[in-house]
């Protein structure tokens, strides 16, 4: 009996293909949007997450505090509290911390021949490369000799090397660094591998010099911009965070934590996750509204269909159809509409997600749960909005239905 009813429903949908398609459109768009949005959301999140874990999930950034806690960018004129000695002290007194790398940052103009490029100058030590899991493309990174002797050596990011030297080999070349209106001559000793976008700007546009050179020759300051601490392992990252915080509060006599700010990769990861999750939720909500509108479309078309087929209903009733037969005929028709719309929506959503994944260069993630959820929701909507028209059809009086013109 169910199969017979299904056949009747499908035949009736087939006999009016354009209308069927149009009435499914809302469901198709809704389901497609849910699938695509969820997929794009998780694909993008996965990519960001993997970028961050590439940077090392056991890393903790230690910044000087801005005068009022969070918000706003780290200003260069923040309180001068971070010395090289403090970095050593953190490492010595915090057992979960493996390494603390001091970082001094500024902006300077790099000049090679007739090319000049504004670049980010990072003063740091030999551990920086290892802590960041950052490899060299050619040459070598800053070593302890460079640091002890305050040598004018520079390691270039891949894009910077390309901009300055084009296809030439930059190793051993002299370049000029213009920093705060003074010129310094540096020797290129290495080029970093290509790394792409980081959390704080493009890493390939940076250059690295010994931190001692930076502090003694460029900035003439005893203070550095920030520290980068590495925990012994990812598992110890949170205990390292606690130890550093405790140590700095004691050491800087800073109960209100105004002089420093800690940012772990875990925190960043959490932030990214919650942002993408709420974004997905919002877009999913919009998609759900589209599904709802699609459901109303189905109800509309079913009501028209019931009225249009009043005579058919009368004939079927005269020939012995019971209420439940008529009811299930129209209900199955509504369900077929929404179900078919759901299937088409899944296919289109899948394709959409695939193309956007290609554009965004991340892997296609289609979760079974999103497919089932969207499809289930579509069918539920078909059931809900199909119920009223089907009941209306089932309740028709056979005599009146038969005399309907």
């Amino acid at each position: 009996m169910f199969f017979e009813t299904l056949k009747i429903a499908v035949n009736s949908l087939k006999s009016n293909k354009l209308r069927t398609l149009l009435s499914m459109l809302g469901i198709i768009i809704g389901v497609g949007a849910v699938i695509a949005i969820v997929s794009i959301g998780s694909g993008a999140r996965e990519q960001i997450t993997s970028n961050i874990s590439n940077l090392g999930s056991n890393l903790i950034n230690i910044f000087p505090g801005t005068s009022r806690g969070w918000g706003g960018r780290i200003s260069a004129s923040s309180e001068n509290v971070f010395t090289l000695k403090l970095a050593d002290d953190i490492k010595k007194l915090c057992p979960s911390v493996k390494k603390v790398v001091p970082v001094a940052q500024g902006s300077g103009l790099l000049i090679a021949g007739d090319v000049n490029v504004q670049a980010n100058i990072v003063g740091t030590n030999a551990d920086y490369q290892e802590v960041n899991n950052y490899n060299l493309y050619q040459g070598q990174f800053i070593n302890s000799d460079d640091l002890e002797s305050n040598l004018n050596v520079i390691v270039l990011g891949s894009q910077l090397a390309k901009d300055l030297f084009n296809s030439e080999n930059p190793l051993g070349k002299k370049i000029k660094l213009n920093y705060k209106d003074k010129n310094y001559l540096f020797t290129v000793i290495g080029v970093m591998e290509e790394k792409g976008g980081g959390l704080t700007g493009d890493l390939d546009d940076r250059s690295y010099i010994p931190i001692t050179t930076y502090m003694k020759k460029l900035s003439n300051s005893r203070y550095v911009s920030s520290y980068l601490a590495q925990a012994n392992s990812s598992q110890e990252a949170s205990s390292a965070l606690g130890e550093i915080e405790y140590f700095l509060i004691k050491n800087l006599d800073d109960q209100d934590k105004e002089k420093f700010r800690l940012l772990s990769m875990d925190q960043i990861l959490d932030t990214v996750n919650s942002v993408t999750a709420s974004l997905s939720l919002m877009l999913g909500g919009i998609a759900a509204i589209s599904l709802l509108v699609g459901g109303i479309g189905i109800m509309n078309i079913m009501l028209v269909s019931v009225t249009e087929r009043t005579r058919e209903i009368g004939i079927r009733k005269a020939l012995g159809a019971k209420r439940k037969n008529i009811m299930s005929q129209f209900l199955i028709e509504a369900l077929s509409l929404s179900g078919l719309g759901g299937i088409i929506g899944i296919i289109l959503g899948w394709l959409g997600a695939y193309f956007i994944a290609q554009l965004g260069k991340w892997s296609l993630v289609i979760s079974l749960s999103s497919v089932l959820l969207a499809f289930g929701f579509a069918v539920a909507i078909g059931l809900f909005f199909g119920l009223y028209p089907a009941m209306k059809a089932a309740k028709m009086d056979p005599v009146e239905a038969l005399s309907y013109e």
């Binding site: 035949n11 006999s15 004939i315 012995g320 019971k322 209420r323 056979p398």
Partner: protein, 228 residues
């Protein structure tokens, strides 16, 4: 086999109450061919709907096949329509978008007959009315006479107790009408019980008995000489 006792039917048409039937009683035996005649507004359609189990009487008793069905619920009525009554309408009332064969299968679908048996029975019924070559046609592809023959096949396919025909020749030309009446005559010879509503005396003359209705009451109930 069919007993009607003091049947009344009151409709509400807007604000007005219409007494379509005002106490009709008669008895029809198995194998009879009865015509119900009367001018429009005489209540013959209402009576037809009640005999056809499409409608409940307001009052009175209606016994079919030994069973009082004047008070049964809609579901039971649907079942009776399906199993015991075969309808032939003036408007033919075939489903337009499906084949002739499917149309004849419809009563069997609601009777729960499986698809293989259904097809066999429907083909058989269509063969009996001479439409074996029209199985896959749609109603708009065949003539009015053929459509009505298909409708008769549909009425017979479930082997009903009564064939109820409502102005079966009303939408046909005289030649096709005559052909349809010949089929009814043959069915009568074979022992079927036929109740036919008509306002044409020519058509009513095929029956053995004519019940004349007027203003919701039986005016005359006569047995006539069958001319054929």
């Amino acid at each position: 086999m069919l007993e009607i006792k003091k049947i009344t039917k009151v409709y509400k048409m807007g604000e007005v109450l219409v007494n379509a039937l005002r106490g009709v009683s008669f008895h029809i035996n198995k194998g009879q061919f009865v015509a119900i005649m009367g001018p429009s507004g005489s209540g013959k359609s209402t009576l037809m709907h009640i005999i056809g189990c499409l409608d409940h009487p307001t009052e009175g008793i209606f016994i079919m096949d030994g069973e009082d069905i004047s008070k049964v619920n809609d579901n039971k009525l649907a079942e009776i329509r399906n199993k015991k009554i075969g309808f032939v309408f003036q408007q033919f009332n075939l489903l337009a978008r499906t084949t002739i064969l499917y149309n004849v299968e419809v009563p069997l679908i609601y009777a729960g007959v499986n698809s293989k048996k259904r097809k066999k029975l429907a083909e058989q019924a269509l063969e009996n009315v001479g439409l074996s070559n029209r199985l896959k046609h749609r109603p708009n592809e065949i003539s009015g006479g053929e459509i009505q023959r298909a409708a008769i096949a549909r009425a017979l396919v479930n082997n009903p107790l009564i064939i109820l025909a409502d102005e079966p020749t009303g939408n046909l030309d005289s030649k096709n009408g005559e052909e349809i009446m010949k089929i009814f005559n043959k069915l009568h010879q074979e022992g079927h019980t036929i109740i036919m509503v008509t306002h044409e005396l020519e058509v009513a003359k095929y029956a053995q008995r004519i019940i004349h209705l007027h203003d919701g009451l039986i005016e005359k109930d006569e047995v006539i000489e069958n001319v054929f």
